[in-house]
Symmetry: C2
Subunit: 410 residues, 2 copies
């Protein structure tokens, strides 16, 4: 049984630091480095936004040519280094170069992540300072590193899991993420740095990350926007000498990585900008899985559904209406809708049917109100057409979301 913890202890061969470089006001942590003592195989998943930030362009290139010998990831907040032209690319390269000089490695062995305001140029004086300070504080303070990559997050997001091979050998996978806003259901949707002390061939690493992301980061919605910077990087340094080789070992690694990413992704939704509720949207009976996903996304991004949840209003007609505009051909007569407290796999047997045969059931408005008031709520919509299923996690839309995003740059 995999136990995914919300902490990270020592992971063999990795050192980290989270420091204040001067990119954020008030002395907040704003700069992090993750360094491996030895070269890592590395994999990445990136935003599908057509407007890609400079560090995304840089990392994509480096994973083409240098994915077998990555040594470090440098993360700055306060500035996305997106929409910054050739100057932005130079600055991402310079960031990597400075870190490489300190580490004593090839500059191509350093990857860079940025998050913050789009369209402003990176303050390289602060970056230089961040690298210098971080290198002095390298250690195992993962909590500090996770804090240093936050933007509007209210809490750091960490997770780790220990996996035992058949022969008793053990290795760890650990990761930090930041999210909060601009989280859309699409390939890679926030920043994440994941590491393992197992030795994993690069192609296996990339396959595992793709699978895990599809089941986790790509299933979360905060506001439906998608960032220019979304990236998840996965580094394997083999410091434990545990080698992953067989299909069975790959399956176990992928399973553990997926569980870890799921925990981090769900943490992003729970800590969504202004979020007061964690909502699981389950679709079944759709024509196929892709259609189910379309319906789930329409519901999960609907401002009317999200504000109704915020208002503790079991206004389920908005859920059906959102499904109806998803672009999937549906027959309302065949649809059935339930709500339940808790997460989909923890509904304590309580589930209330609201809609069937094209009309409301004879449900108790009181029970519906009691369920919708919970902090964790699940929806199940059965389309009554086929075998397509999908699950997406989302949050509500609150006053605080508007406050946070109306005031982001000031």
């Amino acid at each position: 049984m995999l136990e995914v913890k919300s902490t990270i202890e020592h992971v063999a061969g990795f050192r980290v630091a989270g420091v204040h470089a001067g990119l954020k006001k008030n002395g907040k942590l704003d700069f992090a480095v993750v360094i491996s003592d030895t070269p890592c195989t590395a994999a990445g998943v990136f935003t599908t936004n057509q407007v890609k930030a400079a560090p995304v362009i840089l990392d994509m290139e480096r994973l083409q040519s240098h994915a077998e010998k990555v040594r470090a990831v440098v993360v700055n907040t306060g500035c996305a280094n997106a929409c910054t032209g050739q100057q932005g690319i130079y600055k991402a390269q310079q960031t990597a170069r400075w870190a490489a000089e300190k580490i004593g490695c090839d500059e191509n062995a350093v990857l860079v992540l940025s998050t913050g305001v789009i369209g402003s140029q990176l303050n390289m004086y602060a970056v230089r300072q961040g690298i210098d300070i971080a290198m002095q504080f390298l250690g195992h303070e993962w909590f500090e590193a996770a804090k240093a990559i936050m933007t509007t997050d209210t809490r750091p997001k960490l997770a780790s899991v220990t996996v035992a091979k058949k022969n008793g050998d053990r290795y760890q996978i650990a990761g930090i993420s930041k999210g909060a806003g601009m989280i859309a259901p699409n390939m890679a949707t926030m920043l994440g740095v994941i590491i393992t002390d197992a030795q994993v061939p690069q192609p296996m690493l990339q396959r595992a990350l793709k699978t895990a992301s599809d089941q986790s980061y790509n299933r979360i919605v905060v506001d439906g926007d998608m960032s220019t910077n979304d990236t998840v990087l996965l580094l394997a340094n083999g410091a434990t000498n545990v080698v992953l080789d067989t299909p069975e070992e790959e399956a176990d690694f992928t399973e553990a990585l997926t569980a870890l990413c799921k925990k981090l992704a769900q943490e992003i939704v729970r800590d969504g900008e202004g979020a007061t509720k964690f909502i699981t949207v389950n679709i079944q009976g759709a024509p196929d899985d892709a259609a189910a996903r379309k319906i789930a996304d329409a519901i999960a991004t609907s401002p009317l559904v999200k504000t109704a949840f915020f208002g503790n209003d079991a206004n389920w007609g908005r859920i059906v209406a959102a499904a109806g505009r998803s672009g999937v051909a549906l027959n309302p007569e065949l649809m059935q809708l339930w709500i339940a407290p808790g997460e989909a796999d923890d509904q304590r047997g309580i589930s209330l049917q609201l809609f069937a045969g094209g009309m409301p059931t004879d449900y108790s408005e009181e029970t519906a109100a009691a369920i919708i008031k919970e902090k964790t709520v699940s929806i199940l919509l059965d389309c009554g057409m086929g075998k397509g299923t999908s699950t997406v996690w989302t949050c509500d839309l609150s006053h605080d979301y508007v406050t946070i995003n109306g005031d982001y740059r000031s």
Copy 2:
């Protein structure tokens, strides 16, 4: 020169009433009828939501079979009569039947519109009462009728225009609309009843309404959701004996109808739920018009763009990022972005370029802040790729939007 007024005087052969039927609390107007003394040709555009309200299903059928002899439109608020199954259909039919009895016409000559909460059954006692009272107060109080179809609108929406034919004959087109939330850019996006005292062949009427809707109601965004009930109906009773016949007359009619619909549609955005700003999104240089429209919609529905406007924050990177996730292949290096105060066709020569060649221009943050503070702002994004253009009107996303929609049913 067409002058579209915000009032409706007497339109020959039409009588209206807006009354309190008991569907809303506090004695508010909640029920309206529009009646023609003689049979009308009629046209309609309807929601493309797969979940259609009972009155939408009824009206679509009646416009198939009885579009040459429509006598009346009955509108109730407080209940959408959507997700109400066969019972909902019966109730929509019964509403029409009762009105027809009072008017003394075939029940198929009456169309029905509903708006309000989805998934609750219509209170037929109130509907009966609404019809009885309304028939006693028939007259030319269009302002009352426009008020009686409001939901979360803060003000009634009326418009009228007088058109002169070459020979000097004059006819009127007039309309009322309601909107406020759930306004997405798609075929028909709210309730509207439009009338004319010209005599217009039914096919011409349908063509003109389609064209006018595409240029008006289908170009507005409040929250990106799409209702189960959206309908615009157009009735022509020929009471003036002005006959529209020639292609030239059709063109003039379509032009006037488009101007009228544009005014009503823009009024819906100006009065969007919680809206504090009217934003015109102009796209040019897209691969084609459809691509331009996709980009415009992505920007106009982006919660991050809309909250930035609410916060008077010229955070233009979010506009570029929204374009980047629209699904259209774009090259940021070719993109250029401007903002300007006022409407697109009224920018007083002031236009500030923010982004070009993949990076920010050397613009004045002070000027940008001054523009974004205006109540009416325009964006122009040139993709630098082709000849595709699109214009969409939207509003910002405010605290009041969340309050209104978190609290809608109570």
